[in-house]
């Protein structure tokens, strides 16, 4: 049995499959599309059009590197405003052509930099949250590694929120939580345990809908196995979601987030 902290380490493991591994192994065709049409092309986010069985979908995911060189290129999966705006452009495009959207979440958080603030990091994330809540196509969000803070949520508003068994989803890193609330950054294990960041905890809290089982020891041990599990889940959910009337789909999506933290008087 893995502890919550073990899962944090697994989620961050450099050998863990990343968005491009899933894209390569799950979809029959993939055409990558670049740029936000405003500023640049953020390589921490990969997006494009893909085919899966009888569906054509838009796929968007955060990409971490497996080597230092790759990580430098991908900014360690930390997205800048232009990355969120690229994602939104591709999601709007998906809506126009009636394509369901699949997002892969894997980020230590939105990038905290001077340029990111100059270009409106807060506005970019906020806009994605607002727009994703009303896009008229099914949205499936899958946390594949670490989903940290608003930087993860900006790809995380959808009809089905899914986590891999050993992935984590949190408001900030356990180290950050420990240093702020316990005033002791070394209490990261305790923080991880108490923060409710594992797939199991978040399913119980009704934040997520589904947990995808990982191969023994974690996804890094069997990429074919995990990508096959994820593929099955995507197809199953597409079969369900594409049959739902659009108005009902949107109403249910609204309710899904509306009920979180709802308080009865």
């Amino acid at each position: 049995m893995f502890t919550a902290w073990d899962k944090v380490l697994l989620a961050r493991d450099s050998k863990r499959p990343r968005t491009l591994d899933y894209i390569e192994n799950i979809f029959d065709e993939f055409i990558e599309l670049h740029g936000d049409r405003l500023f640049g092309d953020d390589k921490s986010i990969v997006g494009g059009i893909a085919r899966i069985e009888n569906y054509v979908v838009t796929v968007i995911g955060q990409q971490k590197g497996k080597t230092t060189k790759e990580n430098m290129e991908r900014n360690f999966g930390m997205t800048n405003p232009e990355g969120y705006r690229k994602a939104l452009r591709l999601m709007k495009q998906a809506e126009k052509f009636g394509r369901p959207i699949i997002t892969f979440i894997d980020t230590p958080g939105a990038y905290p930099g001077i340029g990111a603030e100059e270009r409106g990091q807060g506005e970019a994330i906020a806009k994605n949250l607002l727009e994703m809540s009303t896009l008229k196509v099914p949205i499936i969000c899958i946390v594949i590694g670490e989903g940290s803070s608003g930087g993860a949520l900006a790809l995380g508003v959808g009809d089905k929120i899914i986590m891999l068994e050993n992935s984590v989803y949190s408001i900030l890193s356990p180290e950050g939580f420990a240093s702020i609330l316990y005033k002791d950054a070394t209490k990261n294990r305790e923080a991880a345990e108490n923060m409710k960041i594992t797939a199991k905890d978040l399913k119980e809290l009704e934040i997520i809908d589904e947990i995808i089982k990982e191969p023994t020891g974690g996804s890094q041990n069997d990429i074919a196995g995990i990508t096959s599990n994820v593929k099955k889940s995507i197809i199953k959910n597409l079969n369900k979601l594409t049959k739902i009337n659009k108005d009902i789909l949107l109403e249910e999506r609204y309710e899904k987030f509306r009920k979180i933290g709802k308080i009865e008087r």
């Binding site: 930099g113 807060g122 607002l130 933290g261």
Partner: protein, 285 residues
């Protein structure tokens, strides 16, 4: 990280407002030092000046109670969304106790007060955050009250104004706090589709999850002068890039220059300015 920073940023500021507001205007001393120009000021004069330094124009942080008094026509404010309590989703030790003692001290229930009132006779739904209550952080109650305010504004077809001040998400509520960003933004998407007006007013400081949700989603975004506004806190950015930040970084004037807010409005003009905007959006149908 962000919350920690605010605690350290302007100790005199917080002291200034907490001494005056929290103790219900029982002035502890008659004098206060402005942390911007270092001038020693007579407190009563500062308050008469809407808690703005008469010497240098520094806008001190103010309580939600004082803010409502400054903005809303006397006797027209009716509070909504009262009596909500957090479920303490992480069972965070001491959290409920802390909230209770803050409620006692600040005489408000949570970091946001919501209601319906009039501004120069224009009826609006208003939400006013309060930095004296856990740095104005957003947990389930703040998210729920903001969402209820948005939904009330839709139901009554009234304009919505939110005064923001926040250190970000309420860490003690973990992922539930994070999800309030999605909840409030989705409610604003509905509000937007109804063709209703939403004015967001950013005050010092507006950071983190509030910036990355309802603060930045106004049809019109106003800010008080020199307010700190950003997603990541300055200290986090400094630690990440290992560089000193430029002067004026993440201040209202910086955001105006980069195109992320519409106008900077001094506190003495805020009510009139809001009233003017409201009147320009009066519906003819």
């Amino acid at each position: 990280m962000i919350i920690d920073k605010i605690k350290k940023m302007n100790p005199e500021d917080i002291q200034f407002s907490s001494k005056n507001e929290v103790a219900g205007d029982m002035l502890v001393g008659k004098w206060v030092k402005c942390d911007a120009c270092k001038e020693i000021l007579y407190k009563e004069e500062v308050h008469k000046n809407l808690s703005v330094c008469p010497n240098c124009g520094k806008h001190f942080r103010i309580s939600s109670r004082r803010r409502i008094k400054q903005i809303i026509d006397e006797g027209t404010f009716e509070e909504i969304g009262k009596g909500l309590k957090t479920t303490n989703p992480l069972n965070f030790e001491g959290y409920e106790k802390k909230l209770e003692s803050l409620q006692e001290k600040t005489k408000i229930e949570e970091a946001v007060t919501t209601g319906i009132g009039e501004i120069e006779g224009e009826k609006v739904v208003l939400a006013v955050m309060d930095g004296n209550f856990m740095m104005g952080s957003m947990g389930s109650v703040v998210g729920e009250k903001i969402t209820l305010a948005i939904e009330t504004s839709i139901k009554l077809r009234l304009p919505l104004i939110i005064f923001c001040v926040s250190g970000g998400a309420r860490m003690q509520e973990g992922i539930i706090s994070l999800m309030q960003m999605a909840k409030t933004s989705a409610a604003l998407a509905k509000h937007n589709k109804e063709g209703l007006l939403y004015i967001s007013v950013l005050t010092d400081p507006t950071t983190g999850g509030v910036t990355a949700s309802f603060a930045m989603l106004g049809d019109i975004i106003l800010a008080e002068p020199n307010a700190l506004i950003g997603f990541a806190g300055p200290r986090v950015i400094e630690q990440t890039i290992k560089q000193q930040l430029p002067d004026g970084f993440q201040r209202s004037e910086f955001l105006l220059e980069h195109g992320f807010i519409d106008r900077i409005v001094e506190r003495k003009n805020m009510k009139t300015e809001l009233a003017n905007i409201l009147k320009l959006h009066r519906r003819c149908d």
